[in-house]
Amino acid sequence: MENGVVVCTDKLVRKFHVGRTELVALKEVSLEFRRGEFAGLVGPSGSGKTTLLNIIGTLDTPTSGSATVLGERVESLSPVRAASLRSRHIGFIFQTFNLLPVYTAYENVEFPLLLLGLSSAERRRKVTDALEWVGLADRAKSRPTQLSGGESQRVAIARAVVKRPELVLADEPTANLDAENSHKILQTMVGLNRDLGTTFIFSTHDEKVIRYLRRKVSLVDGRVAEDRTLEPGEVRSQKLE
């Protein structure tokens, strides 16, 4: 990763075939994201946000062009290597939380560490830390059904950051939350970004999220329409309490 570049795409193209129709979801997208950024891919539905997030998350590969994530060329990654990269360096936060329902909050957060083969003591320390970061240490034994939407998403955030990934990808993380919970969640992520130096890339069209971003990449019809660093006055980030 030269000069702290975490993600670099160069003339990235992604085409899909639906029957005989060819859909071009991304059209020569060239972007760079550096370590510690708090950036968002913004645009209407069908603009290519999720497709780009998929490629950055090594869940998909480009049709042409290249994408380099944490020094790895996505287009040439094997499925096993891609899974390994995700398990070690990339965290995901989803719109619908996607907690494993039969496990407690603690166990949900512990799961990524099990994939890394950490010792029990190390897992316990990291999970406890992560739950404290998101303010849910006292709900460790609760099952997802016992948590509110906001709490569930905070557990999901803890799960995404517990392994201290270099990159967190959040797909519409506030879509299912009310305004108050959305702000709490965003403040949590801002704090983690600041304290841990984790790079956050959002896919969103939620104004509440956009107001927290420090960089906004607007996508329209698969192209980068605008890539703008927001002025400090435009950002509502606050210190994590």
Binding site: T96, F111, P112
Partner: protein, 422 residues
Amino acid sequence: MLAFLAKGLFRDRSRSLFPLLTCAIGVSLVVVLDAYQRGAMDGMFRVMSSFVTGHLRVTTRAYAKAGTDASNDLALLGVDSVLAGLRRDFPEVTWTPRTRFGGLVDVPDSTGNTRVQSPAAGLAVDLSEASPEREILRIEKSLVTGHLPSASGEVLLSDDFARRLGVRLGDKVTLVSSTMNGSIATWNFILCGTVRFGILAMDRGAMLCDIKEIQQALDMPDAADQILGFLPREQYDDKLATRLASEFNAAHPGENEYAPEMETMRTASGLGSMFSLLDWAAALILIIFIVAMSVVLWNAGLMGSLRRYGEIGVRLAIGESKGAVYRSLLAEAFLVGLVGSAIGTAIGLGFSFYLQEVGFNVAGMMRNATMVIGDVIRARIAPMSYIVGFLPGLIATFLGAAISGLGVYKRQTAMLAKELGS
């Protein structure tokens, strides 16, 4: 990781309890079915061999050829000599002579006129103190009233038959039949006891007497319809029986239709096809079970996979490889199959044990049956019972998960974010 997955498995009943119940029920049914079928066939063969064919049967060639139409005029002559030869040449086999006869049983009133008559199926066997027939036919256990014939002229009737005729112990009954030469024969007996064999065809109208008595009654000195042979421990061994029959028949060549011929239980009374059926039945049950259970469990696996679509998606997104997810599904299936099959086998064996000890009374269903079959069918637990359900249960559960789990490999990771976001 294994402990983590096990924790999820135990907490999620639809992943553990329901497949486990499905497996256990299927396995227990197969165990019971297998034991019941074995017991029923055993019972049928035991009854058939004890009352009809023996494990080996020596008759004249003409008698064997006539099959169910055979009559006493085709009986073996010089039975004592043939019997002595058999006991000398095949000492491991228990040999005993028998004669079947038919006729009318006439019950006179106080004036000597006929009060009631009824057709009877008679069986004459060696009823002496040392006779193996006492054990083979379990006569003493079958005795309902009175005692076994101990004096000349005594006879046993089946209990139902005696009731129907309205005769009591000590009453006179007359057999009207034919000699082996075709003349009319009448012979007076005294009823000394009644029996119930638990075999409907016998209990309806059987008459049982000593073979010496019937030799006099039907004018067949030193003759008998057949000499039956019983292999050790009452266990029919088709290979052994076939070998002995071949040896005997090789020693008695020729075309004389009154010469003795030995048949095995398989060939006598047309039981060959039933034996063949038995050979295939167990394998057929296993195949049907494996296919049926695989389909059921495959379907259950598919339903489970659909229900766990989100969970598997999250695991893949977080960084678990498809291989690891697939292996964990297989491990879960193995565990569920192992426990389910063990529980199913235990339940099946328990129920089979009950059926083995108590049996299932089918008398009510077979009132008009003509088959020589016991009215209580019992199961029999054999070493096979321990694996007949267990292995297919385990394999089917594992196979079902293995097939349905292949869906993990077909899943497009490119769609994960979209699927999990929706």
